[in-house]
């Protein structure tokens, strides 16, 4: 479990030093830094600059990066990583995990002399750029990686051991990851735990299996019809819950990040969905960090988190903009969240 997270010069955070708990619910208005906070954990858990391009793609940028050969263009690819786009000062992300120890990622441009680039093309020219380096320091061991350009294409060199961090958002609900996670569970005779979790909330689901549909392996549900139905066709809510449950069950002692957890969940199911995710996370020793805009979700989650046995392991995190325009995160204890939401106080 990540006990502490420190960010420097990352996106909207000039400096953040925050203690985390087993269960963390993140709220805040748009632009306050919620997504940046989640992304910091995901990037830090990665092992190559490639992870940044995944996030960039989720933020709406094209997967295809066309490199025209200017230093400005190269640096513009990464500038949103840096606080107020100040690329002179490096980014530092650091976590302390009670099981996996400390993990730090330094992101900075190398010395300009380090790298020379000759682009071959219709109008060849030569110039020098400073390649961006992602340096992971894991329990004191340095792993240098970088994103360089070869023959007009990005190439990533070096790799660090990745941390068990899964990140789910509206555009990252990968069928492949679900299939892979389910297969892993099934191989260890643990697929029933997923079925039980789903059926407890959605009793129409009586079984889950992997089936080939048009040549692709797909999770399919037995819902009592004469044919199994791909989960994605069944319901957005069931599909998402299955994804989150798989993320927890197949990622023991890991970290699961869920952006806008309420998305697709029928309001009456919210307490059951959250109760089930919490129970699975406790059993698998998984840390949950979820963001939400939904007051109904907060009202559903608060009494569960305020239960005596987990209240000390739970907190609300509210991303706010301080008077200087910096993103900060305020921590609120679970009993205060429960007291507030039971009185209809606005806490978001």
């Amino acid at each position: 479990m990540i006990n502490r997270l420190e960010l420097r010069n990352f996106r909207c955070f000039q400096h953040l030093d925050l203690s985390l708990k087993r269960f963390n619910i993140l709220v805040g208005e748009s632009g306050s830094g919620k997504t940046a906070f989640m992304e910091s954990l995901f990037i830090l858990g990665g092992g190559s600059p490639e992870i940044y391009f995944r996030i960039r793609n989720w933020r709406g940028y094209s997967r295809n990066v066309t490199f025209t050969g200017t230093r400005d263009q190269y640096q513009s690819l990464f500038r949103d990583l840096f606080y107020r786009f100040n690329q002179e000062e490096g980014v530092v992300l650091r976590s302390v995990d009670d099981r996996y120890g400390s993990r730090q990622l330094d992101i900075a441009y190398g010395e300009i002399e380090d790298y020379g680039l000759d682009l071959e093309g219709p109008s060849p020219h030569a110039f020098k750029i400073s390649p961006i380096n992602f340096k992971w320091i894991i329990d004191g061991v340095v792993h240098n990686t970088s994103a360089s350009i070869k023959e007009g294409k990005f190439s990533f060199s070096g790799a660090a051991p990745v941390a068990p961090v899964s990140y789910y958002n509206s555009v990252n609900l990968s069928v492949f990851e679900n299939v892979s996670a389910f297969s892993s569970l099934s191989k260890h005779y643990r697929a029933d735990s997923l079925v039980e979790a789903i059926a407890a909330i959605y009793p129409q689901v009586k079984g889950i299996t992997l089936e080939l549909v048009s040549g692709d392996a797909v999770l399919c549900a037995d819902v009592g019809l004469n044919e199994k139905v791909p989960i994605g066709e069944l319901s957005g809510g069931i599909s998402k819950f299955a994804t989150y449950a798989l993320g927890i069950l197949a990622n023991p002692r890991g970290v699961v990040l869920i952006d806008e957890i309420e998305d697709g969940v029928y309001y009456k199911n919210m307490p059951d969905v959250w109760r089930s995710l919490v129970a699975m996370a406790l059993r698998e020793e998984v840390q949950l960090i979820v963001s939400t805009h939904s007051y109904e979700f907060l009202q559903s989650a608060a009494p569960i988190l305020a239960r005596e046995e987990i209240a000390k392991e739970s907190q609300l995190l509210r991303a706010e903009i301080d008077k200087d325009g910096n993103s900060v995160i305020r921590k609120i204890a679970a009993p205060a969240l429960e007291a507030a939401t039971s009185r209809d106080f606005e806490v978001r």
Binding site: A333, A336, A339, A340, T341, S342, F345, E346, V347
Partner: protein, 232 residues
Amino acid sequence: MPGQTIGPYLILGEGNRDKLFIENLCQNRTITDLTVDFVKGNDNFGDHLTGLTAVPDYPTCRAILLVSDIDESAADSFKKIKVQIGDAGFPVPTSPLSMAEKAGFPSLAVLMIPHPVPATDPRGSLETLITPAIESLFAKQAGCVSTMLKCAGVMSWGKKSSQDKARVRCLTSTVCEDNPMIGLHLCFDPKKHLINLGHNCLDEVALVLRHFPAWSRSAHKEWADWRRINKV
């Protein structure tokens, strides 16, 4: 829709009628800069305070005044509130109208009503406080209600606060032909002319409310000291 009004100087009453009384008194006396709310019963001061810490505007709150009924024992009622304040982690005042402070929290004081405590009987509630302000407008009906309460045995009830509640209920019923069931929370509406909010029985409460922001910012933690020094 969820929401919570919080301001630099927050007054918390027990119920909605306390809130409406304080708001209308402030309006009548041109007392500004206060935010008034209620906690839904005197068992809920602690949970309400705990919940406030989760509200985005909570850091803007500088001082909180809890307003609660004495009921049958000032000591017991105050102790009950003190325990709740302490459990919520807030600064705990040593006595009513004493300002408590603690780093990272708003200053906090408690006003027990009736205020000032009547010399004849140190018990009562909001109804005890406002009875003279109603009776002054309806002297004839007040006499009849007194007679009726005696005759009906209400004045032999053990609870002073219950006696005063019965008195106010009877009095407002006798003067509200259109709605004899009128609730106390509706009586404070100035358009109804049921209570004289300018009556001198409310002067001391109004004084505390008017000067609460200045008192909370001062070095004098006891209201009596602050008042003496500032010649109020």
